[in-house]
Subunit: 144 residues, 2 copies
DNA sequence: TCTGAAATTGACAGTCATTTTCATTTAGCC
DNA sequence: GGCTAAATGAAAATGACTGTCAATTTCAGA
């Protein structure tokens, strides 16, 4: 699943031919994400591509991953050490159960949590809210 | 992302004479935290102390804040930009509603969320879990 | 009160993820 | 083929945080 060749904003202004171009670098990053099934850092993806032969500049990997996450095509989370890690995910809103050891990830949903977050925010007069909810632990394999 | 740390104040090891000493720098940092009621970065606290006259080395502020959070005396969260911010909090487990603009913070509790996180983890065979749940938004003042 | 070992401090250099700069290459439209 | 905005990437810059280590301070015991 997941193809993602980075088609962002739908209709653009008629006059300005602002367009997101399709390049081999972007294709390579998207492919890497599709192959790597767990959360990976920019550096790891860059390394992966290099080892694979499809070398892409580190700067470009950074930019591409940010664009992909901004477009909602991949999920980003801040690891406990503060580093950003990316992963292709289902489109619906969800959270993650991430193994601290091997990075294995399980997508989880919690409609009740979303509702709770919304109501708590509203009750306190907060607007433009977003929330982060990730669970870190050791998966069954890494537990022992 | 780092949630509320759960380590309690350490009982000093009986045999070793390891002791945490009381210094004016630590007192100053603790005082600053008590005065600044919202989440602040290490740099901000360092700056605050300097302006106040109780200048403390930046390195020391870093170390002290980390020690305090490791001891469970203050809460740490990773801001959306990845920077760690600290704040004195109630001792019970809770989460935060943080204003992206001014940093104003409201502590919130969600027993149901805790239970949900635990059951989801268990259902997937995860152990040693910890979770992060923070809500960022604009408080009523900053909304307009 | 004095003393010395261990704890602490802080200036400074180092690390490392991420960003900026900018000159050089492309993709995609004519 | 030619053109131009978009994209790339090497190198330098940024910024948070950590490591080093000589100098300073705390505090338990004499």
């Amino acid at each position: 699943m997941v193809t993602t060749v980075m088609v962002r904003s739908a209709k653009v202004h008629p006059m300005s031919s602002l367009g997101v171009r399709s390049t081999k670098q972007r294709t390579a990053v998207a492919a890497a994400l599709a192959e790597l099934d767990d959360f990976r850092s920019t550096q790891e993806i860059h390394e992966y591509l290099k080892d694979r032969g499809d070398s892409v500049g580190l700067t470009t990997v950074y930019r591409t991953l940010q664009a992909l996450s901004a477009a909602g095509d991949v999920d980003v989370i801040l690891r406990e050490d503060g580093e950003s890690v990316y992963r292709v995910c289902s489109t619906s809103h969800h959270h993650h159960l991430v193994c601290r050891q091997c990075g294995h990830t399980v997508e989880v949903e919690g409609p009740a949590v979303e509702r709770w977050a919304d109501s708590v925010s509203a009750a306190n007069g907060f607007t433009s809210v977003s929330h982060t909810l990730e669970i870190f632990g050791l998966c069954s394999n890494c537990s022992h």
